[in-house]
Amino acid sequence: MDILAISLILFGLGLFGALTRKNAVAILMSIELMLNAVNLNFVYFSRTLIDLSGQIFTLFIIAAAAAEAAIGLAIILNLYREFGDIDVEKAALLKW
């Protein structure tokens, strides 16, 4: 039970970071935190219910996170090239 709460708080911290950080790399890191919070949940349930599926999901999430980090790095590089900075507030082209 406590581990569920820990992972929930971890998720909240990650969400907070994703909402407030200006640095794009920091946002990427916050998202990794959120993913990890989910992983922790999965592993906890896997242990509690004696069911391997939770761990398998975790492995898939880790793989997907690796892909996401690679793409994220590429996007951040492009952002840097385009704006000379990785402040996401500058990338506000959606606003007309």
């Binding site: 039970m1 406590d2 581990i3 569920l4 709460a5 820990i6 708080i9 971890l10 998720f11 909240g12 911290l13 990650g14 969400l15 907070f16 970071g17 909402l19 407030t20 950080r21 200006k22 640095n23 794009a24 790399v25 920091a26 990427l28 890191m29 916050s30 990794e32 935190l33 990890n36 992983n39 592993v43 896997s46 242990r47 509690t48 219910l49 004696i50 391997l52 599926s53 761990q55 398998i56 975790t58 492995l59 880790i62 793989a63 997907a64 996170a65 690796a66 892909a67 980090a69 690679a70 793409i71 994220g72 790095l73 590429a74 996007i75 951040i76 590089l77 492009n78 840097y80 990785i86």
Partner: protein, 156 residues
């Protein structure tokens, strides 16, 4: 023991999302990820723990450090850590977490007795039988992400 780990985890996670210097953030994240690996070992998931070490602490951290080094010049002004929506975000996240904790308290979860027998061998079997298709698909996803990252990051 587990509460020490939890404290380290939450503190380093907190530092990750609040520290001003992005390098320090990355270090704090590395600590958080390491601690999580500890959690996995504690929870009888040694393979996942090892994967956490190799992929997260190893590969993804390196990627992030690369991203920092490629985009931050020494002597650059430090980006102020947070934008203008700290208070509303904090409020929203706290309410969200409170709801979550309320939900967890209501949860009626009974741990099953016993332990998993040889989880690593079981994982291997499951991955190559029941989850064979997702397993292949995720490898395809990784390949696509690899190629995609190269294409996106390439200078035209």
């Amino acid at each position: 023991m587990i509460y020490v780990l939890a404290a380290i985890l939450l503190i380093s996670a907190f530092l990750t999302v609040t520290l001003k210097n992005i390098f320090h953030c990355a270090l704090a994240l590395a600590v958080a990820l390491l601690t999580l690996a500890g959690f996995y070992f504690y929870l009888d998931a040694p393979f996942v723990g090892v994967m956490q070490l190799i992929i997260y602490v190893g590969a993804i951290m390196i990627l992030i450090i690369f991203a920092i080094m490629l985009t931050t010049r020494v002597g650059d002004r430090l980006l102020s850590a947070a934008n203008h929506q700290v208070m509303p975000s904090l409020l929203a996240v706290i309410v969200f977490v409170l709801f979550g904790i309320a939900a967890i308290r209501k949860l009626d979860l009974v741990a099953k007795a016993g332990k998993m027998s040889d989880p690593i061998a079981g994982l291997g079997r499951e991955l190559l039988t029941t989850y064979l298709l997702p397993f292949e698909v995720i490898s395809l996803l990784l390949l696509a992400a690899l190629v995609g990252a190269v294409v996106i990051a390439r200078k035209d």
